[in-house]
């Protein structure tokens, strides 16, 4: 009996008129928690009733406290007929369960009705008295803090980062239960809201348990999602990063020498990977093996040591039906050789330097069976050249490559033999250094920015997708299928990371897209090498001994350095010496899903880069549909990647941060949207230009045309250079001698439908001194592609945009912010659209949205749209929906150029020295932390990273007997080489085994990977460098104009410029449904959604204010599902939002004045009331 919940209903205001006769309302309130209900008296004939009720007390388990919301229903009393409901308020009690968060909930809440929207407000007081329960068998996890923020929250310090936690719960969707036929829409909506609220409570509790089990006390980067699977149920799932956080008391110096673990769990326990199965009772610390791979086996690659996760639970029939076929690329089936040599992508056979090398490459296959460079020559019999060539022909149609591929191919050729020998040695070395991480089941981190020293090197983007057919969840208590699906994907991600020579994945996220019974599961992250000291306590001591290995790589470029072995590059890439330190190698392009590390040196400013793509597909059912989708995926990934690459070059930039690729499935099309923030990393080489090549050099008019286009492109590049102020210092590389014997390779983007390679080699493609990126135009598609490249309008003067937290290159934010959500739905009326036409429509849609934002926010100039988060969906056959949430922030134009002094101290808005979350001592440790990875590096002094991008698509699709089950379509990815992956796995028999698993499982699966790598040594700390005192017109928490409404700021970022967060009050996670049967009267769908979104904002603000807060950070709208039926005059919409409620003060203000004392007072008064 560990908790007493108390609630008091004070008053109502602005109630709707419920009695037409008197134009008044006889309101009373029902307060319900669990199965207990209390009622207030009826307050007759008033629209502003004062109930001033007694304290309603609920004595409940803390488990219930975590799961259940407090339900408050306002009703109109009716003597003769049933009482009419006015509306409801759900209050999440969770923030009260944490001693450090809010202590009382008190304030005005909008009374919400799913049919009428907000109908007045109600003033409520809620308190919780929690008794300590030390029962180790408990099922509750009160006290574990949750943060949506994907960095260590300000005002906390990470003592330890434990790692990945995940959980999912499933249930039947009330909307699809039989009872729904006989109940009102209101009842059905409320049942759904209640259920989801319960499920998220339960989910959070279970995750909390896992965190406690790991010895942590908080979850950072908590990402909760709903899968509305329709008939087959409702899934609520969440991932996060378990941490042990220490509170940094502002004003006091950081705790520099000790890492206090509030939790008593021993470190060893802390390192256990999270339990997959939350239902299993936790037996305490001494039985870690029940939940994760046993520690002793840690050195083994997980792929081989953990087969059980792939429970081969699928029916055998499926297994038997599987066979290996490359569905989309090679019609012929490859014989079941142990290693299938798939044609993959082929690098132009026409280029002489490559011809021999390619032979060693072709085997690069699917993830599961890919063989590394080092192993390939040994184990594989290269396919006969003839087959390669024919494959090439096939590939031409759809595939093109970028220069990395080519270069890598040649590079690998030369280094092949060396790699063979070096491989095993390296493997050993690495295994020594990475134990802490490798013993984890999933070394994933949902964080996107890190404590200084945490991130050592960045590899590149890894991602995996899988197409699944949904079937009914038969037993909601055992959501194994869904668990297994995610397990699979995570394994895949993990192996991708390994292939990149990385032991961890950061900036990790998962998502789904569902259409009818097909579901695409996606996961992506950035492969990285982390400093293990944060993983286990012991590591913190090792630092000093390893000092000698320390590689003094300059902090600002460390993360760019390649983590993999130069000679065993997992994919083709072009390496150069780091342009910053000149000692380590770096790739030419770097793609990541994380935020730009704060110490990274950037030239000029960044910008939002988007790749957009539509692909039509035939309408189909079930497995046929799933197959079709799986077949399309790799091509989409490839196209998106090519677009990104081209646009990056066009902006003269060389790295992408915050890359987020979303693929949405609809009945007759797939939508792909990749967003990222492009920057010019000073440490990476300057990108070459883009060169246009014509197919038929003889044709004069054609040539003229090409010249025109070329000129336009060059102009655009020049213009962009100016626009983004990219003026890299002229390189003196010769002086320092970057002795990389790089062959001047160029890549080509083929667009031809015929083989045409011969002439190409004759073209002079060099673009200045650098390698140009060649686009060949030989058909209209290509021309349109190029046009579309050029159609992206730059933001108008005074505007910048990015999808990361802050804009690289802008350091002096002022305090003006405007968070907004915008939704657009586009109806395609033209029935027979082509892919091209669709692409254009989609691109225009996105571009126009951006233009709209610029226009609307023009009064904020100079300003930057940050964290532009686009979500696309295909809600119906002919509809495309794009939802965007972002924040516009003003900055000081005059000082936009210079990054303030190195120190993070005056940078972060809420970041000054005492507030650093990480003790300085740790920063110092960073260098020693590097030791391990860098020792490996120093062995082969020039380990340099190519900006490689690996993309690997593997489709395994089999549900149909007789249909080839495993498809390995590799678009450009096929040229990928799994050198380091193979390295890491002791033999590649293991790989095969893994592969076999995959096949046996017989699911539809697509995986893709993209990677680029780097070393990173320095602090990664999020901040918006904002010199204090520049804040203008900050609205503080004071209420204005005599009104009682607290101003609540909202932002998708983890900070507010010019404002210091002094307290986190708990997570806000709300789910609302709104329905209307009078769509026209509410102003059509736009009017309906407009007011709904406004209402959602209002409810979020009210909850935050009631917790005593005045801002929401890391706000996001996870879900916005709109269904309309204009003919019936109906519409329904579901919105899920989340964020962290905080109290903040102006940076210049001393202490939490107003808000804190307010809370104190309320507490007192609340106490008084209670007694």
């Amino acid at each position: 009996m560990p908790g007493k919940l108390k609630a008091k209903i004070v008053a109502g205001r602005h109630l709707p008129v419920m009695d037409r006769a008197s134009d008044l309302t006889d309101a009373f309130v029902e307060v319900k928690f669990g199965n207990t209900t209390f009622k207030t008296d009826v307050c007759h004939k008033s629209l502003n009733p004062q109930w001033n009720s007694e304290w309603f007390k609920f004595e409940v388990d803390d488990e219930d406290l975590q799961d259940e919301p407090l339900q408050i229903t306002v009703l109109d009393h009716d003597t003769y007929s049933a009482n009419d409901a006015i509306g409801k308020v759900y209050i999440d009690i969770d923030p009260l369960l944490c001693t450090e968060a809010a202590s009382v909930i008190s304030g005005w809440f909008p009374i919400y009705d799913t049919i009428h929207g907000i109908r007045g407000e109600i003033n409520v007081l809620v308190k919780v008295e929690l008794f300590n329960d030390l029962n180790r068998f408990r099922q509750s996890s009160c006290g574990v803090k949750f943060f949506c923020t994907t960095s260590i929250p300000r005002c906390y310090r990470a003592a330890m980062v434990h790692g990945f936690v995940e959980e999912l719960v499933v249930n039947e969707d009330p909307e699809y239960q039989w009872i729904d036929r006989i109940r009102t829409p209101r009842a059905s909506n409320e049942a759904r809201q209640r259920l989801i609220s319960l499920m998220s409570g339960e989910l959070q509790r279970k995750i909390g348990l896992k965190v406690l089990e790991m010895g942590g006390n908080a979850v950072v980067g908590y990402l909760q999602c709903f899968d509305l699977e329709g008939e087959s149920g409702l899934v609520v799932r969440a991932i996060g990063t378990a941490c042990t956080l220490d509170k940094v008391s502002s004003g006091s110096a950081p705790n520099t020498n000790t890492h206090v673990h509030p939790n008593t769990a021993p470190a060893s326990n802390a390192c256990n990977s999270p339990s997959k199965d939350g239902k299993e009772p936790v037996f305490g610390e001494d039985l870690p093996s029940s939940s994760g791979p046993p520690t002793p086996f840690r050195a083994l690659p997980t792929s081989s040591s953990s087969p059980p996760p792939f429970s081969p639970s699928k029916p055998c029939s499926r297994q038997s039906s599987s066979s290996d076929t490359d569905l989309s690329l090679t019609p012929k089936t490859v014989e079941p050789k142990p290693v299938r040599c798939r044609p993959g992508i082929f690098l132009c056979p026409s280029s002489p330097t490559l011809s021999t090398d390619t032979l060693s490459l072709p085997g690069s296959g699917s993830v599961g069976c890919g063989h590394g460079l080092s192993s390939a020559p040994r184990a594989t019999t290269p396919p006969p050249p003839s087959s390669i060539h024919s494959d090439c022909a096939l590939l031409r149609k759809s595939v093109s490559f970028t220069e990395d591929l080519l270069l890598a191919a040649s590079g690998m050729g030369s280094g092949g033999s060396a790699g063979k020998e070096a491989g095993p040695l390296k493997t050993l070395l690495r295994q020594h250094t990475q134990t802490a991480l490798e013993q984890r089941e999933f070394p994933f981190f949902t964080l996107t920015s890190f404590p200084p020293g945490f991130l050592v090197h960045v590899g590149g983007v890894v991602s995996a997708r899988s197409v699944k057919l949904l079937d009914r969840i038969h037993n909601p208590d055992e959501p194994e299928t869904r668990d297994a699906w995610w397990e699979e994907i995570r394994q895949e991600i993990k192996s991708h990371a390994k292939a990149l020579g990385c032991h961890a994945v950061v900036g990790y996220s998962e998502s789904t897209s569902i259409c009818e019974e097909v579901c695409i599961l996606s996961a992506s992250g950035t492969a990285a090498i982390l400093n293990p000291r944060y993983m286990r306590e012991g590591c913190l001591d090792i630092g000093s001994t390893d000092h000698r290995f320390e590689d003094p790589s300059p902090p600002s470029c460390g993360f760019c350095h390649i983590p993999y072995d130069e000679l065993n590059m997992p994919f083709p890439a072009q390496l150069t010496y780091c342009y910053h330190c000149r000692r380590q190698k770096v790739p030419d392009v770097l793609f990541t899903t994380i935020d730009l590390p704060s110490e990274a040196a950037v030239t000029g400013k960044g910008c939002l880069i988007q790749a957009r793509l539509c692909r039509l597909k035939k309408k189909a059912q079930g497995e046929v549909n799933a197959t079709a989708i799986s077949n399309l995926l790799p091509f989409m990934e490839y196209e998106l990647h090519t677009q990104l690459m081209n646009k990056l070059k066009l902006r003269n930039m060389n790295a992408l941060f915050g890359l987020h690729i979303q693929i949405s499935v609809g009945e007759n099309m797939l939508l792909g949207l990749a967003s990222a923030t492009g920057v010019y990393l000073t440490a990476l080489p300057a990108p070459g230009g883009i060169q246009i090549a014509g197919k038929t050099p003889g044709d004069l008019s054609n040539e003229h045309h090409i010249l025109t286009i070329q000129k336009r492109i060059n102009d655009t590049i020049a213009k962009n250079k100016e626009l983004y102020q990219i003026n890299p210092p002229e390189l003196t590389e010769e002086g320092l001698g970057s002795p990389i014997p790089e062959p001047r390779q160029r890549s080509r983007l083929f667009r031809s439908h015929s083989e045409s390679s011969d002439e190409l080699s004759e073209l002079d493609l060099s673009h200045g001194k650098k390698d140009a990126f060649v686009l060949e135009i030989d058909d209209t598609d290509a021309v349109e592609d190029i046009h579309s490249l050029l159609t992206d309008a730059p933001p108008p003067t005074g505007f910048y945009s990015c999808n990361t937290e802050i804009m690289p290159g802008i350091y002096n934010w002022t305090s003006g912010i405007q968070m907004f959500t915008s939704v657009r739905v586009f109806r395609l009326s033209n029935a027979n659209l082509t892919n091209q036409g669709l692409n254009k429509i989609f691109t225009d849609l996105c571009e126009n949205l951006l233009k709209s934002f610029y226009f609307k926010l023009r009064s904020m100039i100079p300003c930057c749209l940050c964290h532009l988060n686009f979500t696309v969906a295909v809600p119906e056959e002919e509809l495309i929906q794009v939802a965007v949430t972002a924040v516009a922030m003003t900055f000081d134009k005059d000082q936009a150029q210079e990054k303030p002094a190195e120190k993070p101290i005056n940078k972060g808005s809420s970041e000054n020295e005492e507030q650093l979350q990480f003790p300085l001592e740790l920063c110092a440790d960073v260098s020693s932390a590097n030791t391990q990875p860098s020792s490996k590096v120093s062995g082969t002094v020039s380990l340099l990273t190519p900006a490689a991008k690996l993309c690997q698509n593997q489709l395994v699709m089999i549900h149909l007997p007789g249909v080839p089950e495993s498809t390995n379509v590799s678009s450009r990815a096929a040229s990928v080489d799994y050198g380091s992956f193979a390295d890491r796995c002791s033999t590649w028999l293991e790989l095969l085994r893994l592969k076999a698993h995959t096949i046996r499982r017989g699911s539809v699966k697509t995986s893709r990977r993209t990677q680029s790598l780097a070393h990173s040594v320095s602090s990664l700390e999020r901040c918006s460098p904002l010199p204090e005192g520049r804040s203008r017109s900050l609205r503080s928490s004071r209420s204005f104009g005599g009104s009682s409404v607290t101003v609540v700021k909202m932002t998708p970022l983890s900070f507010l410029p010019g404002i210091r967060i002094i307290k986190y009050l708990g997570i806000i996670n709300m789910f609302f449904i709104r329905e209307t049967t009078s769509l026209r009267e509410e102003g059509g769908v736009s009017g309906f959604l407009h007011s709904f979104i406004a209402e959602v904002f209002a409810m979020v603000r009210a909850h935050v204010a009631a917790l005593g807060g005045n801002a929401v950070v890391s706000y996001s709208m996870k879900e916005c599902v709109l269904m309309e039926n204009p003919n019936k005059n109906q519409a329904q919409c579901l919105i899920n939002v989340s964020g962290d409620a905080v109290i903040c003060v102006r940076e210049t203000d001393q202490e939490p004045t107003a808000s804190m004392t307010n809370i104190g007072q309320t507490c007192c008064s609340a106490n008084d009331g209670a007694t």
């Binding site: 033209n830 204005f1040 736009s1086």
Partner: protein, 357 residues
């Protein structure tokens, strides 16, 4: 291919004052887009017409949603739906309650009934104010009228507090309420030359001096109804014109004071009796509601028009009225000095205000 849905919602509600004005003025979305395009917003921002349309639609929707709140402005400050900075709230309210002088001239003093509302399209056609805007203004008048009707205390203050209006606007509304309540005739052709501001000024004078509130400020309708006792007392002033001696004496006093000071002296002297009779008769008749309604038309017919035909200047007028008022104090047999001052003070300032072309 069409945008089926397009919304933009900011945490802080975004409102463009220009668009707000267009909305208030009753422009349709398309017309508003045209006006904005002509205004050159596009050039500043490199935007296209689509963008402008989308923006205008969004803003119109926002305004429509806000309109409900604007009907009781006090709610705007403590509602939770829109987060609007206080200064912007003030602007929203002030603009919403602002009205066109041309429109208000048409309805001033009329009963705010359904009948009048039906005639709004004629008024719209006549004044060039869009029907939508006419309706909003009409509804505003009616709303304010209804609320303050039942309140105690000073009229202007009540309006200001209930509708959070500026002092100026609150005074204008007080005038409208006052005119409506007393049904002053303002529509006659002879009154057409008077602006709303002229009437508003006069209303202010009447409210401050002739209503119940001028004596006792704690009664209901104190500022809306004229002081009945005072109106009764005004009958006593008739002595000034019925008593021949008094009239002559008064005339000679005024003429003595005016002699040589104005070119219009002859006309003044000739017309004195007529003018004095006019003013005193107006005073004496005010007990009749019907005559109260005709107050302004009487002022014009009985006093302003004769003076104007004699080409008095404004200065002449001032001079004459000052001496006319003051001379009455010197009359030994005239005992109603207090009532006379209360009456003439208002008449004087009203006539000054109304004496123009």
């Amino acid at each position: 291919m069409a945008v089926e849905l397009d919304v933009f919602v900011g945490n802080t509600t975004i409102m463009d004052e220009e668009v707000y004005q267009l909305w208030l003025d009753g422009y349709t979305v398309n017309d508003a887009v045209k006006v904005r395009m002509e205004g050159g917003v596009l050039d500043e921002c490199e935007a296209s017409a689509d963008v402008l349309l989308s923006d205008t639609m969004d803003q119109y929707r926002t305004f429509q949603m806000c309109e409900r709140l604007l009907h009781s402005p006090a709610k705007l400050a403590n509602q939770l739906l829109f987060q609007i900075p206080p200064h912007r709230q003030t602007v929203l309210i002030e603009r919403y309650y602002a009205f066109d002088d041309a429109f208000v001239r048409e309805v001033l003093g009329k009963k705010l009934s359904k009948g009048t509302k039906k005639d709004l399209d004629d008024i719209s056609a006549k004044t060039g104010v869009t029907l939508k805007s006419c309706r909003r203004q009409f509804d505003n008048f009616k709303r304010v009228f209804k609320v303050v009707e039942e309140l105690k205390g000073p009229l202007v203050e009540n309006i200001r507090q209930h509708f959070l209006l500026s002092d100026k606007l609150a005074r204008d509304y007080a005038a409208i309420v006052f005119f409506t309540n007393n049904r002053f005739e303002t529509g006659k052709r002879k009154l057409q030359y008077l602006t709303f501001q002229d009437f508003a000024f006069c209303a202010g004078q009447l409210i401050n001096n002739w209503t119940v509130g001028a004596v006792d400020n704690m009664v209901e309708d104190m500022d809306v109804d004229l002081d009945k006792e005072f109106l009764q007392e005004l009958k006593e002033l008739k002595i000034l014109i019925t008593d021949k001696d008094l009239l002559d004496q008064h005339k000679s006093l005024v003429c003595t004071a005016l002699r040589g000071k104005t070119k219009a002296f002859n006309e003044m002297e000739a017309n004195f009796k007529n003018l004095s009779r006019g003013l005193v008769n107006i005073a004496a008749k005010l007990t009749n509601t019907k005559d109260v309604r005709d107050f302004f038309i009487d002022l014009v017919e009985k006093f302003i028009e004769p003076c104007r035909s004699d080409r008095w200047t404004a200065a002449d007028m001032k001079l004459y009225l000052t001496h006319y008022t003051n001379s009455a104090h010197i009359l030994d047999t005239f005992k109603h000095q207090v009532v006379w001052d209360r009456y003439m003070g208002v008449i004087k300032s009203c006539i000054f205000k109304m004496y123009h072309d």
